[in-house]
Amino acid sequence: MSALKLIPLLLAWCGIVAALARYCPARRTLLMISCASSFAGGAAGGNLLLTIFNGEIAYSVVKALAGACFLCLWVVALAAFYRVTGSGGQGTPVEHEKAYVFTATALALPAGLLAGAICVCRLAPQGVAPLFVLGVAGILLTAVAIGIERFVPADITMTGEALLVLIVSLLLFASSFTLQLDLFSPLSMKVMKFIHDFVHQFFESMLVPDHLFFRRDVWEYIGYLFGSGVGFWGGLLIWFAPVILIGAAIRLERLPSVSHIRQGAQRRKLLAAFIGERRCRLIAPCMAVLILGAAVYNSLFPRVEYWDPKPVAVVVNASGAILIPKKGEINLEDGKLHKYLLKQGGREARFMILSTPDGRLMVTLDACAICKPEGYGQAEGAVICYYCKTLIPLETVGKPGGCNPVPVPLKVGADGVTLDAMTILNRWSETVTGSSRIKGGGK
């Protein structure tokens, strides 16, 4: 099964190698060595990270590297767009073979390192043998991809920017298969937070709603910024913008002059050839759009089976307390998340109990202070907020703030956990239906 879940990642790696080979067909052997060694190095490095540090730090490092690649893509995309639209816009710069070799090798090294590390993160925690198999598979697939690339139609060429966009999109696609490495969900969450904070600060500073110039219909437009989709759409914009900018840069690049050819048909034929070449160069960004779209899909619908038990109804005793035994039908110390439903006096609340890796029992609401109360599931050493897909490491469950589930005070006895029903109900009301939450469910 562990091998199966690596298939899309290894295919993405093949795509990266094939793209590099297409960009620099002259030095395939050098490229193959660079790619294979960097992939193996990335796999070894990723494994070292996972071994030395705990999981979260290792994942954070790999995720930060993937984020850095995305930022590089943004910079390159802006530069490419400026080059063709800025004053005295230029066509595609003529690159010499040495430049192609240098660019391809320079990109192969970080791409291979990151791809190897991403594959290891997807595989972890497994033994040494699968890691060895992964390294060998990566090296073999590098050779296969370079062989297969020869069958891709010769018309399909790519610029340096298009190569970068394809590589980064494939890396982001590969990382989207691992919850801890997914970049789109955190991106959309940051966008949502930024927009909300910005709007809040901006209008607060203007003493809105008492401002004279704002009419009622203006508020309706402002309301869109607080809608639940603002993070998603804003995230999509940032996610796809560099690819679109690079695509636009290729589309807008000036064609070589054909005015020196006197015969109309010959002139048009040459012009058509240039246009055809430019159109073929657009294939890479178009593929990148599809690949990034697949990464978004992975992020929105991760193929992870969350542990999400059905809430068990609890009984409140005469003194208003809830007693949940440590051992019984449910073992609170089994490391799993356990959900409960409290109903009292027409009010209800969901809460959950889990034991952290250091053995402490924690009780929290099945909701956080900022998201829609869609609850949490448990997956791969963390709980995940279903609404914003934020992963909360088990170590930090019970601490307030951010998207962490809201903690509830508890008394841990020898037999079980004692909770105050009214505290839970009140905290649920404050969290879920309180005045601080934006009506409509947005953050």
Binding site: Q263, G264, Q266, K269, L271, A272
Partner: protein
Amino acid sequence: MVTDIIETRGLTRSYGEICALKPLDLLVPEGEWLSVMGHSGSGKSTLLNLLGGLDRPSGGSLQLGGEDLMTLSEDGLARFRREFVGIIFQQHHLVPYLTALENVMMAQYFHSVPDEAEACSVLERVGLGQRLKNRPGELSGGEQQRVCIARAIINSPKLLLGDEPTGNLDHQNTGMVMELLKELRSEQRFTIILVTHNREVAAWGDRIISLDDGVLVREERTCR
């Protein structure tokens, strides 16, 4: 030295049992105007279709401009037609809902990319500078045929084929079209092969060949 643009050896075309063109050896030098005469069913149009790459021979060899048409794939043949051949039909075959200019630009589009200025200049060259925006239905037969000529020459073909191009025209328009073809040939130096059953029209050529029942029966030089 003038080279042969067309060279056929034992060229045949059969449709089932019917042999429309019997083994034909033909050499056409570059820049020549060759008229092909014959009665209905003599194989004139069959020959023209073969020379234009519109049909494939049943046997023999066919070389046009140094390219062996027998070995070309469908795509190769289409590319050859686009770049090498211009065809003028008796029935014009203009797109009725496009203007004269658009009809010419459509040929440019299928060849490479449209260029409106160039299409305008070619239409002006054939005397239709004032009729650019008219649709075929708004043009006379002679004008339509001139649009057809503009469409045929816009991609600078090396070989211009005409299948009864004056068949639908009166005497005056026929003379006008033939005069235009003569001028264009001297300007652009393409080879013309023109199928007709009208001896007067055929006489505009440098050489006349006659077909009868798929066989080349007569060949003569004109005094032009």
